[in-house]
Symmetry: C2
Subunit: 338 residues, 2 copies
């Protein structure tokens, strides 16, 4: 549907705009990218391409700006090519390896690193935690009928929540309860043991069956409610970009960044099983992202539940960003397996 030349023009306009930040005119494209065709020819093609929805003009006498349809073409063409790993890969790997104090600290660090390296907002998410193996469940009495529920997942990710049980239990009974649940759940993801535990009669705890059942209900609630964890880092970097000099645009993005839940859902929705996925501007259902692109890559770390991502301007340097994202995702794999 697009001729070879038209495709070249679209890619050139996107590339030129990403590089310079200025709308690209027919003359520029003719001189810098398609020496064989004159500006007038390019001009005619560009008018056609505008009709086809690849470009738009901020005003009549300006050059063309790419629409998300054009970015899509550009990104797809990039994805075909091989990307050389960035030179800093080894350095990053070393730095990440130093963050050994725990998954959360490491992912928080990674999100910041991503932000710094790409001048975008870095995101690191753990998703579908109900699919991660459970390491231990325990309960700590806080006072009254309030109990702290601790769920340790494989790799040392800790979930905790204060819950209310229908009656007061002593710490001994709570320990017993924790042991029994752990015995069943340990080594399996919650989704597998969930049903078993709901019907499981806890030997020796028949007296407090109601309360035990409530505890299981609460575990389920927590793993469903907060089945992902999200880290965002380096929002300051995109403020330097010309694209976000408009305060309103940045405010929109910042509002989204402050909604952990919405962000986590978005990340999960647009990531794919394997490899890099890119969602561009109005391809994203979140209205707030209409001036941004979202680049995501799952990393093999943490039972394949880690997703790294970038949120940046439409005209981000996709090639560089994707290369960096892939490199850091690779570093993370190694670190988390350890």
């Amino acid at each position: 549907m697009l001729t070879e030349r038209q495709l070249e023009i679209v890619l050139s306009v996107v590339y030129e705009y990403i590089q310079t930040g200025e709308p690209a005119g027919s003359r520029t494209i003719s001189k810098k990218y398609l020496r064989g065709s004159s500006a007038a020819t390019i001009r005619n093609e560009m008018a056609d391409l505008e009709d086809m929805g690849y470009f738009y003009q901020p005003h009549t006498s300006a050059g063309r700006l790419p629409t998300s349809k054009a970015y899509r073409l550009y990104v797809d063409s990039i994805m075909q090519r091989d990307r050389p790993a960035p030179a800093e890969t080894e350095k990053w790997k070393r730095e990440i390896r130093e963050q050994r104090q725990g998954i959360d600290i490491m992912l928080s660090y990674v999100s910041q690193l991503l932000g710094k390296a790409t001048n975008c907002v870095g995101v690191a998410a753990l998703s579908a935690l109900e699919e991660v193996e459970i390491q231990r469940v325990s309960f700590v009495r806080l006072g009254g009928s309030t109990v702290l529920l601790l769920i340790v997942l494989e790799g040392g990710l800790v979930h905790n929540a204060n819950i209310q049980l229908p009656c007061e239990l002593s710490q001994d009974i709570l320990d017993e309860l924790g042991r029994k649940i752990s015995a069943v759940a340990c080594g399996h993801p919650w989704s597998q043991v969930r049903d078993a535990l709901f019907t499981y009669v806890l030997d020796g705890l028949e007296r407090v069956w109601d309360t035990c059942r409530e505890a299981v209900v609460q575990i389920d609630a927590i793993l469903n409610r907060r089945s992902s964890r999200l880290f965002v880092g380096g929002a300051r970097h995109i403020l330097s970009l010309p694209d976000f000099q408009d305060i309103g645009k940045f405010q929109t993005v910042l509002s989204l960044l402050e909604q952990e839940q919405a962000l986590a859902e978005m990340v999960e929705r647009y990531s794919i099983k394997q490899g890099v996925s890119v969602a561009i501007g109005d391809e994203i259902s979140e209205e707030m992202m209409k001036d941004c692109s979202l680049v995501l890559v799952p990393s093999a770390g943490y039972g394949r539940r880690t997703i790294l991502g970038l949120i940046g301007p439409l005209r981000m340097d996709y090639e560089k960003s994707i290369a960096i994202l892939e490199a850091i995702a690779g570093d993370l794999d190694d670190s988390l397996i350890n």
Copy 2:
């Protein structure tokens, strides 16, 4: 050293600037605040006050802007007065009470609430955690010699970190170790039991004494390294303020907000034992805060270790902000004691 009238002028200029955001001129002050004196008189006084360091002029023919010295006077005068509790207090209390899932969730919510209510950045910090009573210490084997250390503090605040022990221990021995340490530490703050545990010989664990000792060292390291926890919320709000239309200023603040450690130290440094403390612009040693004020109030919740705060522009509405901050700090006290 300041005459009654000079004081009035300083306070009027600050007040006027806070309300309008425009530099205040002698005529305005004369007409709106000091009807008894003519503009010319005010003008003379203002020139003196400028020499004394209370005002400065953005340019010769503009009105006067308050320096931090003037804001200081204004804030001090406000602190004398009674502040009526905001009408929303009850509503906030109810909303906070709904966040029962844990301390972290509650404080995160409170920081966002603070931000929304005041149009500043809300901050909620837990400080000096080595002074909070320990509820339980336990260890979970993650694989190899990597162990997850879990410290539960009074009220359900969880610290966790992956640590490396010099040799591999079975989960049973780790449980034993956790039990023994808990037995000593439970009910006391770390600072009190720290020394005892360092010299304590753990009965029945003599074989692995080195490893046990290392575990204690790690607990100490964690409670020292991360002896505070910080939540920041609502940064988006200050973007609407005219004071932060200048992207550079906002970027400076955002950079600071993204440095949890530095922020936590600052909060601890400028908060006082009891009551509201206000640090204004260059009174704060952090260069990045030179265009901001920091308002802090300790709340009685969580063993008096909770500090709530606001980061906003120099010309924030101190009276309103402080009233809101105090009200929400009060709400929190009740909620955390429960």
